[in-house]
């Protein structure tokens, strides 16, 4: 038996009820253990794609499979399994952390999956340890710093033991130190990652492969260093490297 890819999107097209079409036939396969960056300018359809991965949005054409299981929004039991398999970390941690304490929040997902008691506590402990937030377990989320909240948000989905971790713009609003701390956390995770961002250096640091989503379709798919070195491609899709940043020299430093 072959291992099913963690994520397999085929011909996904979607238009919002107001008629605005966001996706025009997206194909994307992410194999187990891969860390892939999904790059694209604002308005490229990145968030729309993310919301399809766990069946929040649906009703267009095409299929999404997570570890071989197809996302069918009308089958409740299957949908619950899909939402366990896909851990989405949303852009604003204040949206993600809604319970009175960090412990309650990290328990929320696994408790919805039916875990209780010692098993639940163990999941919470593991997840918080993985993001280095164990000592804050009893604090209310709104008393944490922004970077700490982001890491707790990652823990809330890690606690569900996802097949694939989807991070939507994880570096937005982070200061450089928090940004690095988050990278340290993501790097040592043993899980498939889809990193949705327009922070190109971050993609280069964390992901070997990148795909570019623009105008609702995948326009490039390859090694991150190659994608970022293709100046005409970047210019055509409103992607820009920070001033003075040379992906080739950084990539050779990384591989050295």
């Amino acid at each position: 038996m072959t291992v099913q890819p963690s994520l397999d999107v085929k011909g996904l097209a979607y238009a919002y009820p107001d008629g605005h079409q966001a996706l025009f036939g997206v194909d994307l396969t992410v194999h187990r253990g891969e860390q892939v960056a999904l790059l694209g300018p604002n308005g490229a359809g990145k968030t729309t794609l993310v919301l399809h991965l766990n069946g929040i949005l649906s009703g267009g054409l095409g299929t999404v499979r997570i570890g071989g299981l197809e996302v069918r929004p009308h089958e409740r039991a299957a949908l619950r399994e899909i939402r366990r398999r896909v851990g989405v970390v949303f852009q604003d941690p204040d949206d993600q952390l809604f319970m009175p304490t960090v412990r309650d929040d990290v328990s929320f997902g696994p408790a919805n999956l039916g875990l209780r008691g010692a098993e639940l506590d163990q999941r919470v402990g593991e997840a918080l340890a993985a993001v280095g937030m164990s000592e804050h377990v009893d604090r209310p989320p709104h008393h944490l710093s922004f970077g700490q909240r982001r890491r707790v948000a990652v823990a809330t989905v890690l606690a569900m033991h996802p097949e694939i971790l989807v991070l939507d713009e994880p570096t937005s609003n982070l200061d450089p130190a928090s940004r690095r701390e988050l990278a340290d956390v993501i790097e040592q995770l043993d899980v498939t990652v889809l990193l949705v961002t327009h922070d190109l250096p971050y993609a280069l640091q964390l992901c070997e492969r990148s795909v570019v989503l623009s105008g609702g379709t995948i326009v490039a798919d390859g090694g991150t260093a190659d994608v970022l070195s293709d100046e005409t491609l970047l210019a055509a899709h409103r992607l820009e490297l920070p001033f003075g940043f040379d992906p080739r020299s950084v990539a050779s430093d990384l591989s050295a």
Binding site: L51, R83, M99, S107, F108
Partner: protein, 253 residues
């Protein structure tokens, strides 16, 4: 700030702090019911009730000043009560040269004393119970789950909305806006509208985040410690003492 501090909470470690929240809520409710059902002319009984609350405050190590400043919330009601002796009809009495309605005086006393006792008792509950414990307590008391959820979101997002509001005010003032006359109400009202829309949209995003983690209609708040018999006995001391005071005075009359 540490823990689940809210403005009314005073961190401490006393018998009252340690009692489970649902036990305290029940005791408070019983006490308040006894207070409001006591006839307003049993002046001594109210002195007794006040003494009971003083004992609770001492045991819980809540200083009088802490209670007094928080009891200011009651002032509008007291103002309303203070008007009654002047506007009520019926038999008049002279107090310091003012002609007042005796019925009005009694009504004012009734509102003031019962209101104050209730407010002080609630402040004592809030001072000794953090927000999360209170939510768990309400859940244990079988308050409908939806209401507990709404209250829990309120606790969580009050700060977020307040800081949204604060940022919007700073943004207005940074562009040299000052609310100087009534015409500026329009700007402030638009701000309130924008805040509503923002909060509504945030609500949608939070709901999406909840669905993503398998929310299916029940909020798993966990960890409420069950109450022991001695917890109930300790908490019952307040309402039982209040009943004894009321009954004793009834018999002595």
């Amino acid at each position: 700030m540490t823990g689940h501090a809210h403005l009314l909470y005073r961190h401490g470690d006393s018998v009252v702090h340690r009692l489970p929240a649902h036990v305290k809520v029940t005791a408070l409710l019983a006490f308040v019911l006894i207070v409001v059902s006591t006839s307003r002319q049993h002046y001594l009984a109210f002195a007794g009730f006040a003494a009971l609350l003083a004992v609770v405050a001492v045991v819980a190590q809540v200083p009088p000043r802490f209670i007094a400043t928080r009891a200011l919330i009651e002032v509008p009601f007291l103002v309303f009560a203070a008007i009654l002796p002047f506007v009520a009809t019926g038999e008049r009495v002279d107090v310091l040269g003012l002609s007042l309605s005796s019925e009005g005086l009694l009504a004012a006393w009734n509102i003031a004393v019962k209101g104050t006792l209730g407010v002080v008792a609630s402040i004592l509950l809030a001072a000794t119970t953090d927000a999360r414990a209170l939510l768990l307590g309400l859940q244990r008391l079988r308050l409908p789950a939806r209401l507990v959820e709404i209250a829990s979101f309120m606790v969580r997002y009050a700060d977020v909305v307040a800081s949204d509001l604060h940022r919007m005010r700073i943004a207005r003032e940074s562009r040299a806006f000052e609310a100087r006359h009534l015409g500026h109400l329009r700007v402030v009202a638009q701000g309130a509208g924008a805040l509503f829309v923002r909060s509504y949209e945030r609500g949608e995003r939070v709901h999406m985040a909840m669905l993503s983690r398998g929310y299916s209609g029940a909020m798993p708040l966990s960890g409420a410690a069950p109450a022991t018999r001695s917890d109930w006995a300790t908490a019952a001391a307040l309402p039982v003492a209040a009943v004894l005071i009321a009954l004793t005075l009834e018999v002595l009359r």
